[in-house]
Symmetry: C2
Subunit: 347 residues, 2 copies
DNA sequence: TCTAGCTGGACGTTTTTTGTCCCATTAAAT
DNA sequence: ATTTAATGGGACAAAAAACGTCCAGCTAGA
């Protein structure tokens, strides 16, 4: 970092935290605008008084404006956001952590966003936005994109900008699961991606859990076979990473399954596969969906997951993750991962 | 200024004041070390609590250390002072003001130091230090230096660093006045300069006010004549600028003299000359001392004066000041001068 | 027309800051 | 050797600021 900034922080140590806090608030407003005070409190994880104090200041500084519909960021505000982006990352030590994580996880690129999405819901949007930007950067080269479900994936779809539509883009639901909340399943996400980008989408309506016979039968259906072929041609895979047990519960897995997952020591889950602490596959849902081999064949894989609670899962999944994977995560998860690694090294 | 800093200040407007305050405290400690809390309060013009709060912070930041003898600046502290020097000047708008003043006063160089020496006594030391540094820069080229009296000049002598002694340096008392406080008269100052730099000094012990006859008589004395010759060879003149009336009072001038000064509309005083608002000479003390013509012949002239109360005097003196003059002043005086000029322009 | 969500005002209750002592200690001066 | 004047640190009541929390009035959109 610049020596001048170092000196500045030496003389004003409180500056760092203050800057981060205000930046985060301003950024959240920018993302959710127009947004009211109360709503902002919840989404930014702060008390009403605090939000009020800061937003009053931001208004006096002409960085935001307050209308009856809610608060909006002014042009000056977006400019400030833009100018300070790198700086905030720097003083949060995010750049350093990104390099560390790249080494730890053995992948070529990690993007870390400030704060912890477990504590501050708005961080999920920030992650979504960053992932959306990265994904958009791939659109010119790659057109066949497989997407999974989950709230993180939903956040990405929200942040995809409706730029010039690209009809060639094709979003493929990576799994046919109906176990989850409709808004967060792969099918819905694929549709949302397609709508935002002007592309098309392919869905797969099949329950996650099928008996062996039913499964075999279905796989012979032309509609399903077609999807299987698409998976083979996939250029990009975008997926979240979940905690094994949480996912099992959310999917209403049978007791038998839960037992397998538990006894196998499963920690993480991604596109229907359960991994243990060494990244070995413990169990996979018998479902129509993308296969691990097919994922590994993709040119680029975008793994998106944030929050301290996801740290162990991320670490587990990346033990054997394909090399071209890019991870988008947040500070909370990143710090926890580094902490876990340090503890491991001590023993 | 850098766009990044502008954005930073937009988001944290309180930063600017805070930085200036802490910097000033740290700088004062650096200048007066070792210094105790109480003493620092007086010299920095702040309450005990405030000083205490800030010094506690500075200590936690390892910029100063507290011993029983007083507070001292650590090596980190001096480094921070050094790094932030330009920055503090920038955010105080001093650089801008310097350019403005150069134009207003019609001279080539102005140096402005933060704060107002009327309010904060320590600022006088800062002015002294800056003037001392400038003067030291001239030592290699110029050896014959005429100095006047006054508390400002005394401040310079205090801040002259005892670097490698230069026996060739010669400090000449510009006037022989005995009217003032001994510590602040030209003779004492010349001696102090010489002691700090390892040079020699020439003094002139003659009362300021002499009858015409006595004056003529004395001028024929060889000791005096020698001084007069020295004035002709002077390379550098360092002088303060005073308020006319204040000086008259301090010098215990006769009623007759005071009347002349008053009726002439004298505003400023420098090396025994009194100037009115247009820079015209209203009166001069009949004394053995450097002549205005001799001052004008010098290669460099260093005028040093600070504090809002000196603004009018500075403006008055510089109406006709020699071009190669360099002015060292403070923010208080500078702002007041610019304010006065603005008012003048309005009418 | 109605309702949900927005801002701005208000106010009692903490929490922090502030002003002001005194005290033991130490280094210098007598 | 003794005094003196300065130092940092501790303490505490008073003042000020910050905080949590409510309500009123308004506006945009359903």
């Amino acid at each position: 970092m610049d020596a001048l900034f170092a000196a500045q922080q030496k003389l004003m140590p409180e500056m760092s935290e203050l800057l981060k806090k205000r930046y985060q608030i301003l950024q959240t407003i920018s993302l959710e605008q127009p947004i009211g005070r109360r709503t902002l409190c919840e989404v930014a994880g702060a008390t009403e008084r605090e939000i009020r104090k800061e937003t009053d200041l931001l208004r006096n500084q002409q960085l935001i404006q307050m209308k009856t519909a809610g608060m909006t960021v002014t042009s000056q505000g977006t400019e400030v956001l833009d100018k300070l982006k790198v700086f905030v990352r720097e003083i949060s030590g995010l750049t350093d952590m990104e390099v560390q994580l790249q080494a730890i996880l053995g992948i070529s690129k990690v993007v870390i966003l400030p704060q912890d999405s477990d504590e501050i819901p708005a961080v999920k949007s920030h992650i979504g936005k960053e992932a959306a930007r990265l994904l958009e950067g791939l659109f010119t080269r790659y057109k066949k994109i497989a997407v999974t479900g989950g709230s993180t994936m939903a956040a990405i779809s929200k942040e995809l900008s409706n730029g010039k539509p690209d009809r060639a883009l094709q979003f493929i639901a990576a799994r046919g699961g109906l176990g989850e909340d409709v808004l967060h399943q792969a099918n819905t996400i694929a549709a949302a991606f397609a709508e935002k980008t002007g592309g098309s989408f392919k869905t797969l309506y099949l329950p996650d859990h099928l008996s062996a016979e039913a499964f075999e039968m279905m796989m012979k259906e032309p509609v399903i076979k077609e999807m299987m072929d698409l998976y083979d041609q996939t250029d990009v895979v975008v997926h979240g990473i979940g905690n094994a047990e949480e996912m099992a519960v959310r999917r209403h897995s049978s007791l038998e399954e839960v037992e397998k997952i538990r006894s196998g020591g499963a920690i993480s889950e991604a596109f229907g596969y359960y991994f243990d602490k060494d990244g070995k596959i413990v169990y996979r849902i018998r479902t129509a969906g993308i296969q691990l081999k097919q994922v590994q064949k993709a040119s680029t894989i975008l793994a998106v997951a944030g929050g301290g609670s996801k740290a162990r899962a991320i670490l587990s999944y990346f033990k054997n993750a394909p090399n071209p994977t890019v991870l988008v995560t947040d500070e909370g998860a990143a710090r926890k991962i580094i902490e876990l690694i340090k503890k491991l090294e001590e023993y």
